[in-house]
Symmetry: C2
Subunit: 116 residues, 2 copies
DNA sequence: GAATATTACTTTGACAGATGAAGTAATATG
DNA sequence: CATATTACTTCATCTGTCAAAGTAATATTC
């Protein structure tokens, strides 16, 4: 499993990560969970409760819509679909991440030059 | 000021950011605060309460030590010095950040290939 | 010299996201 | 029949951030 990522380094990215999965097509909780584990190369294990918290949040803000699958056999599945608004949020969050990444690089590794 | 970084994108990095400043020499709260604002190119404004919370945390875990400056005039200043343990923590946190950054890039921008 | 701004440090309470834990329920496997 | 796996949900707790308020000194401006 390798080392795991600390909670705080992931915090705030869950919604974006879920939206990124849904960009590629409708999916349901358990499948999304597994896709994310796989996407991370098994380095990050999203917790179930975290995922469902994210669904609530995303649905409330209108980024995703849900509908029950019509499985005749097997457990019922609640599918999620990304909305137009969700796509816009995703793009915005991605841009924010790239922006923040640069600043964090400066803050974490950058030296301090005295400018006076 | 440009756009500002969301709290959650910074969360968990404050300690590392403070340690990075102290790597370059002892300093005190207000000065550290200003150095961080400058380091970010004025893109990120660390909040005072957040900084002092970080000091408590860092001192408790032995990453920094503090001592009062001997200013004869001007307000009293509490200086912070990074310890050996603090340096090790810094290096570890920096490595964690670079590790997490790669994974987050995959999770946020990566596509999903079906491997079956 | 009075008012205001700036430097400097501290505490308290509230908030939000992540998560452990527990629960429900169906199907699949051995 | 017992166990594992799939699948979804809720609740309580923890932690880092931060707004707000407070204390107190010096510097600046009117």
């Amino acid at each position: 499993m390798g080392k795991n990522i600390s909670t705080d380094l992931i915090r705030g990215h869950t919604d974006t990560i879920v939206l990124n999965v849904l960009r590629h097509g409708d999916s349901y909780g358990y499948e999304i969970y597994k896709k994310i584990v796989r996407l991370s190369g098994n380095q990050y294990q999203l917790k179930e409760a975290t995922l469902y918290t994210a669904f609530r949040r995303l649905e409330k803000e209108g980024s995703v819509e849900s509908y029950w699958g019509d499985e005749t056999q097997g457990g019922r599945r609640k599918y999620y679909r990304i909305t137009e608004a969700g796509l816009r949020h995703y793009e915005q969050n991605k841009a924010d991440w790239n922006f923040a990444k640069d600043i964090l690089d400066k803050l974490i590794e950058g030296g301090i030059e005295n400018e006076e």
